[in-house]
Symmetry: C3
Subunit: 647 residues, 3 copies
């Protein structure tokens, strides 16, 4: 991550508006402080209204108009929305749900990643698009497709998916005997004689083999990445010097974003903090203050995740500018929040924040999704806030490069899949525990980098491992190479690569789990000693030669320390988690501060930001040394302050 | 609505009982005060036990027996239950669910309104039935089919439904370009090249275009009405001088009842107040007092709705006489309620109340549904109450014609569809808000007429518009023609005819909605000023040149007055709604009275009724001037009183 | 039930472990006090890895090894898991769900009991297995299949199921006219002209005929029993002198276990008290104390049920030895519970308790299911408790034969089906009411025998009939032959054999039910008089010439006494049930004791056991006369005591 000037962008759909308005829209974007405009990602039916008849005129003119105004254009490949004529000619491209029913035309993402015809058609449309605009002076870069996997489209259960899975397995295992061993097929007589006997892990009488389900998820994840790589290759071939990115959807874990991130110049993600807050299982009392602001770690967690996915570089491709249309309830953000979210993205290192969308579309499925302007062309409340951001942006100038955070949190897509396939307790969710650990560190004032397992941990003073059921060799090597204080969560090391029970935790510290219990809501196992609180949802019994720092009521260790590593033998409730976090951060020699539920700090180079999501003003207990760059103290609700720290 | 003598009827199934008992049953009906008997609507397999073999004998004798006893017969066409042999010969008549599965034989309504063969077969059976009994002296009239659309059967998703929808669209739009414009098909590349490319709006990966879904609902609604018109035409041709009606199911909005009502001599509806109360999303505390009485507006709302559907005339074709079998919980009505419901129907203008059914059927799906008699032929508790009604009926004599109510509430089927297709907040339900506004007016002692949008509002002093997302020209003309005080609810005028965002509200009053929020349960936006309370579920931000009567905490107007019109920028909670209603009624110059939660008043001509659904006796604060005709004061729980007002 | 030495067993899967470990496993079993080992029931793919290629070697060696160690082997027929090659060759054996979708390979029980090919294949594999091991000296007996019906596999909705159902109906009714009468087909024109017109009772627009659904359940139940009989016959033919049993799954009522029990030498059942407690709809407060111990009647109810199913003899084939993997939440049993459950089984007459499983399997669907050992071969907490049981077993020696209990509770599978098909109130569950009545008797210190309707009641002093909607002639004869005090629950006698309303209750006592109400949660009808409490969920109005012992607030009888029989006109809440139970037991001359919620007594011959599931120690109010054999007083939580009573 390097020093950057904070940039603004917007998503625009020239095909939705009369051509005569494009130029004035473009001029207005510039006036709003916007320098980048993303277009084209759903426009296949306009680009190719009939099979083979390509209509470039409108798109030529749109790019020319936007570019002439001084806007850099990001062009999306339109593969999220193949038109009806293609679906009618090639119905085999449609995906199939886990219930065995074909998922049809009428919305978007109606394709299976396993369809050979779909790959052909994708190659064709991406190639002609890249060939035409690859060297266009106004095209700064490319977005591959749109929100891969959205609407549950990573997994498909049709004949070509089965064929693809069989081939993938044949390659992975070489022999059916190896597959039978890996899957534990002897269990329930599931042994197969040939890869042709493999079936998809849906539609069975009851649960199918967890190893098979995990492999199906891996296969599907790899397919998505391979499909993106196919597009990336075409784009790079035809569009030298342009960047390639993808806009990942937040709160989405069905494929491995880290792997796809390696294809991209940088990651971008779509930030809908209120919508995501609606979907997160917060308790009613903790939700109450944040319904109209978003929970204070919701955007931040993703910023830190996608900074890692993008190898240190990320954009917000779609920033919520007002209410959305797709959550069960869609509140209006409180005044100030669009500005706050934008600056928070910059504070976490975003190079650009692009709003979705320039103008609210009066028709179609997303007509209730706000934009920077209303359908009648007037500026929306969110649009007004962007004007203020644009002014502040000039005031601040260049933002320094962000230094590595002192704390790393290890996040792993496979771990999410493993615990989804085998929750063992209905409320065990790997993303949720990661989020809670991230929140706990930030409530204590920390900056956190999110890293994939196996990434170098050099330079981190504390490492959080909320749970890695499968500890790969790479992950273990990275852990072995650091002497950071480490907080390790339950279920770590409990599974082999082929989803069998293993004693992998022993490679982390001298702890052996002898029993595990999932605890229904309301049942808690109190913890006391060096840490205080309780295990909820999940509790383990362990044997250890390490030091029990805290114990359950039955004397069994609840927290075990061994050297710089601390293991929690359960899902910690908020009190136990805060205690454990404090303990580990102290051991790491990190200063902490007790922040209110709604306040978060974030440093970027020599800048310190304080964001207030809460209902009350916040005055720092001791005023930061350094000049106030933006905002003031106390920090008002839905406001933030930024100091330039000395040195 | 004219002066009528209150009449009683009953639903009877001669085919369920030994022929030797028909005459005694008929005699007993007469003794019970019953003058009308509905028969035949599920008897196809008895009328035509084999293809083409018509067995009229039993039905001839049944009609003769009932008629001979002095009963007027209403004959139902048996198209709700085509027999198995027909389904086996013509499986294409079966409907298809939104999940793509054929909905099979074994219950009722197993037909698609799009099936040409089904239309042929319907024409055939209705024609032979009408030909045989059209001029039968005992047949007073006809019921077309039974509870159209019940069990979610308006929409069907089979090949003929698709074909019918395509034709309907071709007629409506003329060109595919027009359809693409209307549906906003450019959104997500959904543009079509030909009507043959149209697909049904089910089974897509995610949400389909709202305009397409609305058109599909309109198409389906029109089909149901056309199907009814087909039967009506046959019946009128063969049965001169007889009335034609349909028994609408309560709490059912999948097709436009107003349109169908125009075919009919009068409307009839099936009144199951306890079952409907079970299904309505009441809060637990407000439900508690009414589980065994029904909520006090449940039947009344429908009476007033179907009086409008029937052009001023309506019957209760099926009145709940005891517990039903089809709600999740099926309580026994408290003693007195069957009588109360019956008189309430008369008070609202019903010409006849017919009980479902004469005798509880010991077999089949509805065996737990009470009748006026038990399976063992003894009189049920409900039957006893009918005896009392019959006696009181004589005592009262002719009921005066009802005058137009002072208050009109505009109810619209399309508005229900629009907000179902796009609730934007999970608990936004257009029927529910209409019900709540109706309740609020009646808690203040008002009589309410329910009217469709576009109906003349002449003579009304207050008009309630709880929400009309689409304001048609006809609706606007009717509003323009009245100077009644008007209370207008949120989302009014927000949509065009083709489900696009529009500023239609401006045609009602100078209010422009700039933002809308849906509020999850527990989140309320307080309102103060000239009105007090809060918005729940839905809140709007508005700009206006009108007078803000009350504001939200952020200063934005919550209630805007412009001339005689008051707009509520949100879903009012009970307090705000009561306040607003009081304000509007005062402006209309209407006297109000604060009634307890369980008491309702209703006038019919010079009669005043007071119905007590609540747990406590109720004494009118000032005794009505006029003679007590029935009951006394205080009005006991589950009782009512009726006064003949002077003048 | 005869005098037995309490025996221990275990479930073992030699195919899951290296052959070199079998001998040491066997030796360790012996050391643990285990004498019986069940194997083979999921091993088809190992026995017949290719069509027709039988691999006996491994199984020969496994049996030899286990037998050589001194273990008796129970061999399971492997028909719960036909291998993939068979499914691929004969896809017609797959079951079809109520949603019309084929239920595929990938787990277990993927077969329809109607498939002729499946019967052939089952005969084939059972025959070769029985032929090979039928006279093996180490094989003590056979388990037919595994947990028949588990995962909702009794009912299947495919073409052969339809064909089988039609034939069954043709046999049962002889003529289609008789079927039409029995089913009340005249209702909704469902009359059929031929058995070929019968369709399955799924997939209709709404509810299908209850009589048809009941017949379909009867047909399916008989099919399961016939399938078991087919296997039993083969086993007996090839394996003289060996016992035949089946391991029934607890909390499972989809087929008639009593009928199947008649085929077996004894019943066995699979006891997962914590998992079943998770699934039972306990109120949160009553659940709280028992999440980690199981509810104190959960295992006991099933012991008493399966003792009856087995004609007085039963085993536990699978005893939970720690947490399981299949409930929504899977707690660890509190220390002592595995031992307590084991002794409780013996106290209720179990001849053998076999644990599932010897060693936790590290792979496959059940990898999170605990065993007596961990995957790493170390002994689990449950395994430690078994060692203690084994020691205590020696200490106690032979257990006396159990005498008939003083109290009988009539349990009926058809009653469960009838109330499921027609709950009338969403929370009416026949198993639940039976469980609650059982609990109430045991809270008063009683031993209870569970008996099927029609079984002789001779010798019982009190008979509990929580509800028998259909009172068969046999049931009535058994009731007529006893003068025991009888407590009879709601809905008894309300249905005919063909699911029609009938006045069958009159044959029990002079009570005629005139109205029934289902009461939603929160609505209770208070009862006072000779008994105090309330009806919840269900309430009846009755006419009677008997003595109303207690009445509802409206004066209608809530409890009617006639001779020795007491009828409850509603679902009693805990207070009313306790009162009624006390009344009936007093009338029977039985002494009662008020036990805490977590304590239960059980006698076996001259032994008295007290089991403490609760959180507090329990001291008997007056110490039992007799010598303490195990444990002491007060009885600690999760502990028990056993006294040898004098005489």
């Amino acid at each position: 991550m390097t020093e950057t000037e904070p940039m603004l962008g917007v998503c625009y759909y020239p095909e939705h508006w009369p051509e005569r308005e494009w130029a004035s829209d473009a001029a207005a974007m510039l006036e709003t402080g916007i320098g980048m405009v993303r277009i084209g990602e759903f426009a296949w039916s306009r680009i190719e209204p009939e099979p083979g008849r390509l209509e470039w005129g409108w798109l030529d003119r749109a790019i020319a108009t936007l570019g002439a105004a001084g806007l850099a254009v990001v062009l999306g490949t339109p593969t999220a929305t193949p038109p009806k004529w293609l679906v009618d000619r090639e119905p085999g491209i449609l995906p199939v749900g886990a219930d065995g029913r074909v998922r049809g035309f009428g919305s978007r993402r109606h394709t299976s990643f396993s369809s050979k015809v779909w790959w052909q058609e994708s190659r064709r449309i991406v190639t002609v698009l890249a060939a035409r605009y690859g060297e266009n002076a106004h095209v700064a870069g490319w977005q591959i497709d749109n929100e891969f996997g959205c609407h549950d489209t990573v997994l498909s259960y049709g004949p070509e998916d089965l064929e693809g899975f069989r081939q993938w397995l044949a390659t992975r295992y070489g022999s059916i005997a190896a597959l039978n061993r890996a899957w534990g097929s002897v269990f329930w007589s599931a042994e197969l004689r040939d890869f042709d006997e493999v079936c998809l892990p849906n539609g069975a009488v009851t649960e199918t083999a967890p190893a098979a389900r995990l492999d199906f998820q891996r296969f599907a994840s790899e397919q998505v990445v391979a499909y993106a790589a196919m597009q990336e290759e075409i784009l790079r071939a035809h569009s030298p010097g342009r960047f390639v990115t993808h806009n990942f959807m937040g709160r989405f874990f069905d494929f491995d974003h880290f792997t796809m991130g390696r294809l991209l110049d940088f990651a971008s993600w779509d930030s809908y903090p209120l919508g995501f807050t609606e979907q997160f299982p917060f308790a009613p009392d903790e939700r109450a203050d944040f319904i109209e602001t978003a929970h204070p770690d919701m955007a931040a967690f993703h910023h830190d995740l996608y900074r890692a996915v993008g190898g240190g570089r990320f954009w917000i491709m779609e920033q919520q500018p007002g209410p959305v249309n797709w959550a069960p309830f869609n509140p209006v953000p409180k005044p100030g929040m669009v500005r706050l979210w934008t600056w928070e993205a910059f504070a976490h290192g975003a190079e650009l924040v692009s709003y979705f969308r320039w103008r609210q579309c009066p028709f179609g499925q997303e007509q209730m999704h706000a934009g920077l302007h209303r359908p009648d062309r007037s500026r929306s409340a969110g649009g007004e806030e962007v004007l203020r951001v644009a002014a502040e942006r000039k005031q601040v100038g260049t933002l320094p490069a962000a230094s590595r955070a002192p704390v790393a949190l290890v996040f792993d897509y496979e771990s999410v899949w493993i615990t989804r396939i085998q929750p063992q307790g209905a409320d065990f969710d790997q993303y949720e525990i990661c989020y809670r650990w991230y929140e706990a560190a930030r409530r204590l004032g920390q900056d956190v980098d999110i890293v994939p397992p196996g990434a170098s941990l050099a330079g981190y003073r504390a490492v959080l491992v909320p749970g890695l059921p499968y500890l790969s060799d790479a992950a273990l090597r990275a852990f072995a190479a650091t002497d950071a204080a480490m907080l390790i969560g339950p279920r770590s090391g409990s599974k082999s690569q082929t989803f069998a029970i293993t004693d992998g935790l022993a490679a982390m510290l001298p702890v052996r789990v002898t029993q595990v219990a999932s605890l229904r809501p309301g049942l808690a196992h109190p913890v006391s000693g060096g840490l205080t609180g309780a295990a909820i949802r999940w509790r383990e019994w362990v044997e250890t030669s390490g030091t029990p720092l805290a114990c359950f009521a039955d004397g069994s260790a609840a927290a075990v320390e061994a050297g710089a590593r601390l293991y929690l033998a359960g899902w910690p409730d908020a009190a136990l988690l805060a205690d454990a976090m404090r303990h580990v951060l102290a051991r790491a020699g990190l200063e902490t501060i007790d922040l209110p539920a709604g306040v978060r700090l974030r440093r970027r180079g020599g800048l310190l930001f304080a964001f207030n999501y809460g209902p009350d003003s916040w005055a720092p207990p001791s005023p930061p040394k350094g000049a106030l760059l933006l905002g003031g103290t106390p920090v008002a609700p839905q406001d933030f302050a930024c100091w330039r720290l000395p040195g």
